[in-house]
Amino acid sequence: MYGIPIYKLTVGVELNLSTIGNGTIIQFPDNPILREPGVMIEGVETYVNSSTGLAKTPGGLTLVSQSGGTGLVLNLVDNTNQQRVFNHPYLAFNAPSNQGVSREFLPFELVMQKCSIQVTDPTNLVAGQGVYVVFLYSKKSQRTPLKK
């Protein structure tokens, strides 16, 4: 049932867009929960500042707006150095912009320090705004085998 993942575990990661030049790449900070051995990413959600989204990150940063989100792309790299998500639009992972559907993946091990967000259009972004990416993940013991 693609598009409707089971929420086993989730963790949100915020990123400060401290520099917003055209083409700027901002790396994600390390996350001890996602770094744990056996943690597999199963889905990703992003959020923007709207009445059906999120105004502030847990750390108090104002989230990017819907229009600001159009100027961001996401890169996710797994533990074999493969680009699992390459320059994919930030808003494509935003559920309210996509009929309420969350994006899910075949499980993979994420290397957070190699993941980044790139600014492709800073027009509607303000330095110091935040992005909030929620990772849906599971631990080895909780995984259900895939049905063929």
Binding site: Y7, G100, E104
Partner: protein, 145 residues
């Protein structure tokens, strides 16, 4: 990822859980859910935020409280904790438990977890609400086998 249609949640039991954000709420403050023994002894299989706007309509909550809207929820992050005191959902946007509009796919977050409701809370990130604001959720659960 469980992709088996057979595992799509069916409603075994359903009830509302509530969390009150008072007018004195400050950014970063957390507010706990009321404990519920039934939930604590069950496996939660689905969760949905019920704002007063949108398709899910107004519910009677009584007293001097207002049912939260999705705009209120933009300032709210939910943390769900299981009976081993592990965070299951950590600082998850409340609007992530709601699909945004009646034209969208109905979004009920599928789960499969033993939740200890008395340890779950909402973190408020906005300015003080003008009225006592109550967040209502539909929780779907089944008894442990």
């Amino acid at each position: 990822m469980d992709t088996n249609l057979q595992n799509f949640p069916r409603v075994f039991y359903q009830k509302h859980i509530r969390c009150l954000i008072p007018t004195t709420a400050q950014p970063g403050q957390i507010f706990y859910f009321n404990p519920d023994g039934n939930i604590d002894e069950s496996i939660v299989i689905g969760l949905q935020f019920l704002p007063s706007n949108g398709y899910s309509s107004k519910l009677y909550i009584g007293g001097n409280r207002l049912q939260a809207t999705s705009t209120d929820a933009a300032s709210a992050l939910i943390t769900l904790v299981n009976n081993n005191t592990d965070d299951i959902m950590q600082d998850y946007p409340v609007n992530g438990l709601f699909n945004g509009s009646s034209t969208n796919v109905q979004k009920v977050n599928r789960m499969s977890a033993e939740i200890s409701l008395k340890k779950c809370f909402i973190k408020w990130t906005g300015a003080s609400p003008a009225s006592n604001t109550e967040f209502l959720f539909s929780i779907f659960y089944k008894q442990k086998n």
